[in-house]
């Protein structure tokens, strides 16, 4: 952050602020029309429906191969930033304690990040005292291309594949596949449904592209404890359904019973954990109205734990309820 007199002067200078904004806009307009970007957009748009992750990765590789164009673009960013400290690059910055980067492309099918992981950032993270840590299988296909590998040693891990019928009690353990050094220019492709890797050691800065493909993603990501190698937790890979779950809980807390029919539609979620989350909320809103769907879940839900939980709920709260015959009455 730029603070002090320089910031105060810029904040007091409306024309200066406008110049900073116009420069960023001009650069964005130039590069969005440039073949580096426009061709990727066109290629993604032209992909047949349900193209596999491999087809999307080919597009990502084509983008990364255009090193001259990417170098030109980065030069333009550096030059603009050097001439104006308040220049705001038209790419979303992504950073944490081990790397900093710019999101060069972000589409529903594909994100491409250009990042730097400085050796001192990694060293600090490695040496600081921490609690328990996890190996995380993120459920997505991810391609790393290390422009500079930093003489890194990487360990590669595998776990039982994550699928829509995932059951925690059957998650087993993850296992080490190999540990080796990587070279400049090397690609690492991980299918996050069962593969991941860990940077064990580096002696130099790492510069890398990271392409993340959402096609064919697992419905959840899974954590294994790095010491015991046992399963310790799972979280959703689907941001939209997580938002739906939160909104449904909020509607129930707000006693918006009028939203029941809308919430009931969310029972069609492809994710087992979302279906049961929604059912619990419906039962808390209007148990009798939720009963037909609960019975259907107990009989037919594809996930064994959802069927079992639904059956247990029927036995706990609806033991005396007669089973409806014939078509289910419409609530509308």
């Amino acid at each position: 952050m730029i603070a002090g007199a320089v910031l105060a002067a810029w904040l007091a200078d409306a024309d200066g602020q406008k110049r900073s904004h116009v420069a960023a806009e001009a650069l964005a307009r130039h590069w969005i029309r440039h073949p580096l970007m426009s061709e990727v957009h066109d290629q993604l748009k032209a992909l047949p429906a349900n193209s596999g992750a491999a087809a999307i990765l080919d597009i990502a590789r084509g983008f990364m191969d255009r090193q001259d164009d990417i170098a030109l673009m980065m030069d333009a960013l550096v030059s603009s930033a050097a001439s104006d400290p308040f220049f705001n690059p038209p790419f979303h910055p992504v950073a944490n304690d081990v790397y900093a980067g710019l999101l060069l492309l972000h589409k529903p099918e594909l994100s491409i990040l250009l990042g730097v992981s400085a050796v001192d950032m990694v060293a600090e993270r490695k040496t600081e005292t921490r609690g328990a840590t996890s190996l995380i299988f993120n459920g997505r296909t991810t391609l790393f291309r290390y422009v500079k590998a930093g003489d890194a040693t990487i360990s590669f891990w595998e776990a039982p594949p994550i699928a829509g019928d995932f059951v925690a009690s059957q998650a087993g353990k993850c296992r080490l596949i190999e540990r080796r050094k990587i070279k400049d220019g090397e690609e690492i492709l991980t299918d996050g449904r069962y593969q991941t890797f860990v940077i064990e050691h580096v002696t130099g800065d790492m510069v890398f592209y990271q392409a993340t493909v959402r096609q064919d993603a697992a419905p959840l990501s899974v954590e294994y404890d790095s010491k015991t190698l046992s399963f310790i937790g799972a979280s959703s890979t689907d941001e939209a359904t997580s938002r739906v779950q939160m909104m449904v809980s909020m509607l129930r807390t707000m006693e918006r019973d009028d939203a029941f029919p809308l919430i009931e539609e969310a029972l069609a979620s492809p994710h087992f954990y979302t279906r049961w989350h929604i059912m619990r909320e419906l039962l808390a809103m209007d148990a009798d109205a939720a009963l037909p769907a609960l019975r259907r879940m107990a009989a037919n839900d594809p996930h064994p734990e959802v069927r079992a939980a639904a059956q247990q709920t029927l036995e706990m709260f609806f033991e005396d309820e007669p089973i409806e015959q014939g078509p289910v009455k419409c609530r509308a």
Partner: protein, 45 residues
């Protein structure tokens, strides 16, 4: 009067799945997971 069940009393799944982006423990230096949170971001280009 509607029958409402206390949500705390309703069974939960044996497989607990957290919200998107949540994790129980901090990751080892494991860059793929860092990218997993790159969603919902609008960029200028």
């Amino acid at each position: 009067m509607k029958k409402k069940i206390d949500i705390i009393a309703i069974p939960e799944l044996g497989t607990s799945v957290g919200m998107h982006g949540s994790a129980k423990q901090s990751p080892v230096l494991n860059l793929p997971v860092l990218a997993a949170v790159l969603v919902g971001i609008i960029i200028g280009i």
